[in-house]
């Protein structure tokens, strides 16, 4: 079956005074229908840039190379108005911070009416009815439809955002840190909602997050990003139970969770993306680094079926 989203050798270079920032530097993956792919990495690894590139909302003067195909259509080559029709309708987006993504001067109902009528020519009443149903499915009663964003709690705002994406019934949902600013209990509630939706709508989900716990709970596959590149990609169980890349291992062991027995961390700092390290970008922080790591880019190797990693010594870590 054809994947919903295909990303091939994607490069995104931001324009700055110091020169181009290699925020995303040659990444390749695809998302199948109904699948949830997690993209994890730390601050500045390029994971949010990836989401923006797919939606075509990068800042001006940003260079984009490579292929981005959604349902067989080449996104960067689409005319502006066609892309606009696609965005919000077939590709939904949930942002990190629900506090700032709703217009404070518009009631919740108006948000819905605007969104629905931007994509479909339906009457205001029809739009309103659909808004009711979508919000009721998120547990928000009709009496609150006329309220303004500031009258809702963070969790409710995020549920409103989700409801707004869902009224359009998208094929692909990009969720960029959807629960980062929420408390654990609300976070768990939102994740439960996302899981139910995935099942009910056969929707593909690209979940961008720094929280490996969330990835383990909701994703089918995971891509680990470091300094603009994917260093490891595979089924969730493979990557969490039998990680190959030293960065993935470091990241997994540095999580502080209820069962962790000791503290561990990765030495050093993430690299400057204006002038990234040569060869494997992780080599300056890698405990196993040898001369070859500095000299050559590691190859993208399939070590197990569907389990890829970019490490010169991948075999040794199997």
């Amino acid at each position: 079956m054809e994947p919903v989203l295909e990303v091939g050798d994607l490069k995104v270079y931001y324009h700055t005074k110091r020169g181009p920032v290699h925020a995303v530097d040659g990444i390749t993956f695809d998302v199948a229908l109904g699948e949830t792919l997690g993209v994890v990495g730390e601050t500045g690894c390029g994971k949010s840039t990836l989401g923006k590139a797919i939606l075509g909302i990068l800042p001006p003067r940003t260079r984009l190379e490579g292929t981005l195909r959604f349902m067989g259509r080449d996104l960067p080559k689409l005319p502006k108005d066609e892309l606009r029709r696609l965005r919000g309708k077939d590709v939904g987006l949930i942002f990190q911070d629900p506090m700032t993504r709703l217009d404070p001067l518009m009631s919740v109902e108006d948000h819905f009416i605007e969104t629905i009528r931007a994509h479909e020519s339906v009457s205001k009443n029809e739009a309103r009815n659909r808004a009711h149903r979508a919000l009721a499915s998120m547990g928000i009663p009709e009496s609150r439809l006329g309220d303004y964003p500031h009258e809702f709690s963070g969790g409710m705002r995020q549920r409103i955002m989700i409801a707004m994406v869902l009224v359009m019934n998208p094929k692909l949902l990009i969720a960029d840190e959807p629960t980062t600013s929420l408390d654990v209990i609300v976070e768990a509630q939102i994740l439960e909602i996302l899981e139910d939706l995935k099942r009910a709508y056969r929707m593909s989900l690209l979940l961008i997050t720094h929280n490996l716990g969330i990835v383990a709970e909701v994703c089918d596959r995971v891509a680990v990003m470091y300094a603009g590149r994917i260093v490891e990609l595979g089924a969730i169980r493979d990557v969490f139970k039998r990680p190959i890349h030293p960065y993935t291992r470091g990241l997994l062991s540095s999580i502080i969770h209820l069962e962790s027995k000791e503290l561990s961390s990765i030495d050093g700092l993430p690299p400057d993306l204006v002038d990234p390290p040569s060869g494997c970008r992780f080599h300056p922080r890698c405990a196993y680094a040898k001369a070859v790591c500095e000299a050559e880019d590691p190859a993208w190797v399939e070590y197990r079926p569907g389990h890829f990693a970019a490490c010169h010594f991948g075999k040794d870590f199997l």
Binding site: E42, H210, N211, L212, S254, I256, L258, S265, L269, P270
Partner: protein, 548 residues
């Protein structure tokens, strides 16, 4: 018993809710946000005490109030200063030391003023008086000023209401690490200047001494090479390095107590451990005590000796960290622990999450504040009228139920909680204007008509006529609307519908309704008055729950 460094008793902090001016005048008791309510704990020297809870539970407010960055509404805070003395002294001047002038100097100066006055009196009586007066006055002023100077800052004990100038020296002993390292460093100050700032404020040190101290502490927190880092600005540092700088700034005065407010929440996973290790190291080396504020139970488990779980301004469970993690007692603690995602794909499990969200802290639920969301609530947990209203909200998600409720019970304005009783007004007559309303509006129309009649009789007459017609029209329309909705006053019907609704409500809510009653024009849902369960002792800890 290990000596306490900090004792907090019944600490309460309420924030006023901002209301528009007119409402403020009309409201008898303006609402307050119950940020912290009756929080009591004691912090032994050398302990790491965790305050854990979700946003809005009051944990940060406790941290800031303890440092007196906020003034408490009530309760006491006792801080046993740098040398650990526990001599109970009140803030301000210690007894027996008055400060001010000595008796001898007071006598001498008064005498000289008198003599000077006398001399001038002989020359000119007025000048003499003036000299005398101004002289005595200035003695009095000098006396007062030097008395104030002479107030010896105390070292410890009750700082609940201590004045800012008395707090200053104490603040050396208590410092804070804020959550967001990007926001807590001045971007226009170099790292070295930022770290040296507390020294400049608190101590009289020379620039050279300050720099040496800063370099030493920078080395200690791992900002190396310190000489280079000294001149850098926050924008040139990574998040982890900034947090190290913030820790160095807190440490430079060699404090005894550090309030760490989410010190690693904003940092990437891979460096959190490093910062926590640094904090543990500093604690061991300098004998620090931490009040560790976090929302992350996993981090708290790692670092804390004891923890207190907070919910809506109250501590719901407090005790030995190991015991609480091994066997959480309070249903909220259990929910919190159960909600943490585990980074293991095989550990995906079915979770029982609490219903809904944290209620508004301006109107906290009665009884146990967690009862509306609690999965194991009993009828004794403090059910109240608000819970019925919330249940009606939940019912309104279903279209049919919403329509039925609206038709029979009427709009929400007719329902009003009154202590442990929910009053639902049942309109007596048809919904037109009352006789009094009609009479009043007619009078108003006639008065306006008369005023205008003085200018022009025709305008006046027209005004009266059109006014009366519109009053009648409003009345007729309101009647018709009421008729169309088919709402006729029938308290019995309202009562039986409520009975139906409560029959479908969750078990504990249903069982806690004491009585459904109808009076003239009102249907009452009565609950038993309830109280907060209070902290109860259960297996090495205290729990605020009726189950124990």
């Amino acid at each position: 018993m290990i000596e306490a460094i900090l004792e907090v008793e019944g600490l309460t902090k309420h924030f006023p809710v901002k209301l528009p001016a007119i409402q403020r005048i009309l409201t008898r008791s303006p609402p307050v946000v119950h940020a912290v309510d009756e929080v009591t704990f004691s912090l032994p020297r050398g302990e790491i005490f965790g305050l854990v809870g979700e946003s809005g539970c009051g944990k940060t407010t406790v941290g800031r109030t303890v440092l007196r960055l906020l003034d408490p509404t009530s309760g006491t805070i006792r801080f046993y200063g740098s040398d650990g003395s526990r001599v109970p002294r009140k803030a301000g001047r210690p007894p027996g030391e008055s400060g001010g002038l000595t008796r001898r100097s007071r006598w001498a100066s008064t005498l000289s003023v008198l003599i000077a006055g006398l001399v001038y009196y002989i020359l000119n009586p007025y000048v003499g008086f003036a000299v005398l007066l101004s002289g005595l006055l200035s003695i009095a002023v000098i006396e007062a000023l030097s008395r104030r100077e002479g107030r010896v800052p105390f070292d410890g004990v009750d700082i609940t209401h201590a004045k800012e100038r008395d707090l200053r020296p104490i603040r050396r002993g208590m410092q804070i690490i804020f959550q967001d390292p990007h926001a807590s460093l001045n971007p226009a100050m170099s790292i070295g200047e930022s770290i040296a700032d507390p020294l400049r404020i608190h101590g009289d040190v020379t620039e050279a001494e300050a720099k040496d101290a800063v370099l030493a502490i920078m080395k200690e927190v791992g900002l190396s090479p310190p000489e280079q880092m000294f001149a850098k600005y926050p924008s040139e540092l990574s998040g982890g390095q900034k947090q190290r700088a913030v820790i160095a700034r807190a440490m430079i005065l060699r404090p005894k107590l550090i309030v760490a407010d989410e010190p690693v929440a904003m940092l990437d996973m891979s460096i959190r451990a490093k910062i926590l290790e640094l904090m543990l190291e500093l604690k061991d080396r300098h004998g620090l005590t931490y009040l560790f504020i976090t929302h992350d139970l996993a981090t708290a488990k790692f670092i804390c000796d004891r923890i207190a779980i907070m919910y809506l301004g109250r501590i719901v469970e407090v005790g030995d960290a190991k015991a609480i993690y091994r066997d959480p007692k309070h249903p909220y603690t259990r929910a919190l622990l159960g909600a943490i995602p585990i980074p293991d794909p095989d550990a995906r499990r079915f979770k029982t999450l609490p219903k809904g969200e944290i209620p508004d802290a301006a109107y906290p639920p009665a009884g146990c504040r967690f009862h509306p969301r609690c999965p194991v609530a009993t009828p004794a947990c403090g059910w109240e009228p608000q819970d019925v209203l919330d249940y009606l909200d939940q019912r309104s998600l279903d279209d049919a139920a919403r329509r039925a409720d609206e038709e029979i019970l009427g709009p929400r304005e007719l329902m009003e909680p009154d202590g442990p009783t929910l009053r639902i007004r049942v309109a007596k007559r048809s919904m037109g204007l009352s006789r009094r309303e009609k009479r009043r509006s007619a009078i108003a129309v006639v008065v306006a008509g008369l005023l205008f009649a003085a200018l022009s009789p025709i305008v006046g007459a027209g005004l009266v006529a059109s006014g009366l017609v519109s009053v009648l029209a409003v009345d007729a329309l309101a009647r018709r609307e009421a008729f169309r909705r088919g709402r006729r006053p029938d308290p019995e019907k309202v009562r039986s519908h409520l009975e139906d609704i409560l029959g479908k409500a969750p078990e504990p809510l249903r069982q806690s309704v004491r009585r459904l009653a109808t009076t003239a024009g009102e249907v009452l849902v009565e609950f038993a008055p309830t109280e907060d369960p209070g902290l109860r002792t259960a297996e090495e800890r205290e729990v605020r729950c009726v189950l124990y």
